[in-house]
Symmetry: C2
Subunit: 223 residues, 2 copies
Amino acid sequence: MATDAVPAPRTPLSRERVLRAAVGLADEHGLRALTMRRLAEELGAEAMSLYYHVAKKEDVLDGIVDAVAQEINEAVADIAAPDWKTAVRRRILAAREVFLRHRWAPALFETRSSTSLAVLRYYDALVGLMRQGGFSYDLVHHSLHALGSRALGFNQELFDPAESGGGDIPADLADQLPHLVSMLSGIAHDDPDSTLGWCDDQAEFEFGLDLVLDGLDRLREQA
Amino acid sequence: MATDAVPAPRTPLSRERVLRAAVGLADEHGLRALTMRRLAEELGAEAMSLYYHVAKKEDVLDGIVDAVAQEINEAVADIAAPDWKTAVRRRILAAREVFLRHRWAPALFETRSSTSLAVLRYYDALVGLMRQGGFSYDLVHHSLHALGSRALGFNQELFDPAESGGGDIPADLADQLPHLVSMLSGIAHDDPDSTLGWCDDQAEFEFGLDLVLDGLDRLREQA
DNA sequence: ACCTGAACACCGTTCAAGT
DNA sequence: ACCTGAACACCGTTCAAGT
């Protein structure tokens, strides 16, 4: 028996523990709460200790993007479908569900300049599926551009056309925006739980996704 | 005549001067260089002086987004076209040119939660054009979602499928990404000047835009 | 090998004070 | 009305030092 009662030996830090804590912090309090100091606190350590396991904050951000992408790859692994379109569609919608669990992720993904390996793997599978479905490499390439962030399951929007249901636009402003006001009266987004970002709700996402996928399928047939 | 030689009376600050300087700073050195202190320095004043003319940094950011949107509205004012599709298309491509002058803007636009008046005006005109072209308000609404940021002229992409032309992917990595590597060999983006963000070059932007516009036109005919 | 304290250079922002 | 100096609370990051 040891003579001294050793204090519960804190689980040592590691890159993985740091990244997991970072994801948790962002999930709970948003990206802005993710500071090195706060992250260390979450782990019961000092901010400076983190630098032994990660190079800099950017490294942490790259790391949690990769972590989310891995989560997507797992969610997507067992998906099978009879044709390329439903296969791609199902993968994208499954990926989307991961983003619904990590609402900070779309904004962060868009700031990364170097692409994570897990994201590349995700795209690689997409390319494979489309090739198998009869696409030329060239058309696949165009398709990825046309899909943009929708390929990964989200659609960062610029403004919410139905912000507050349109009911709160002041009258003087309404005069300046006649068409917008007319459009918004009577339109409301139903399910707040399916909303990613501003107005990217499930129904609208699928509308845009299908519009693009159908268009691509048509181009494939023509080729 | 005044008895004392007054020092050249520095043009006084104003919200507008602050915003103009902010846009210039971002144009020249990027968004990261846009700090209150640096901005003040650019204006020959102290950081604290800015707070007399703007509420907080967020206010500055909202302000320069609105300034860019105004620039877009001016660029787009005189556009006429025979049908809704070319009208919308031309407006969007003209808006895009403004973003090519302010490459920091797409990223910033996507972080704004409240929409600038100038952006609303831009959308209002789009809605008007589409209504006139035979769209129901409901389909216009879906259309705006489907277009997403493309309605304003940019397409924030997640990764550059052709990053460095694909030539620099290490061999061991290439084994893990067979489809991607095959696709990338032989694809190169030609004109770096037309590139917004990562891989959003002019040709790809127009491909995606036309794909969506054609799809919307088809839905309009069916309705 | 792993962690930390003290310190540096930088933020945004306040507030009372100057003209 | 307009601007500023000093100060505060926070960043990310370094470095030499502890175990």
